[in-house]
Amino acid sequence: MAEPADSNPTVTSPPAVVHPPVGNPYLAGVLAWLIPGLGHVYVRRRRRGLAFFVLVVAAIWIGCALQGNLAHPMANQPISALATLGTIGMGIPYFLLRSVFGYAGDLVAPSYEYGSAFLVTAGLMNWLLVLDAWDISRGKKE
């Protein structure tokens, strides 16, 4: 009598795909945060890194063109700290915009809210790129 297939002890689940680690994960994360896409370039995903750079910088550029808010902590407004944490994820561009170009956005511009959404999204996307570069560097992702 034939045994049911699932009782065969030789049948096992396929092994998890392992990718070789690339570089230092800490350095990959820091580079990814400083300049969007640079972490991916560091872990030898150059084309993907370039595409991420273009997308994040496009979001920043559109956000600034729409006069969105470049979030910063404000007294008695705890949500502004969260917005700052998200926006600061864009790395060097945040500090360049705030300190070098003196960018602050225009609260009364009609497109202010849209621009703010683009800017905080750029920061949040770059935080995800930090995690992705970290995972690739440790060999947990392709």
């Binding site: 997308l55 994040v56 559109i62 009364v108 497109s111 849209y114 999204t121 790129l129």
Partner: protein, 63 residues
């Protein structure tokens, strides 16, 4: 620029980003891109349609 145009540009950037981040195969990327892009634009239009009968409130005060 119209609100709709800005919404489409936003959906385009976010969809492209997650397509590249989450998928590696070309066909899967295209599928995810379409799901995200159409979901965001379609969802935005649906919410706008549902909100249409409600009158706009007074403008928010400028701090």
């Amino acid at each position: 620029m119209s609100h709709f145009f800005l919404m489409v540009v936003y959906a385009l950037i976010v969809s492209l980003f997650f397509m590249l981040l989450w998928r590696r195969e070309r066909k899967e990327r295209i599928k995810l891109f379409l799901q995200l892009f159409l979901g965001m634009v379609g969802g935005g239009l649906l919410v706008a349609y549902l909100m249409y009968p409600f009158p706009p409130g007074p403008p928010a005060p400028i701090p």
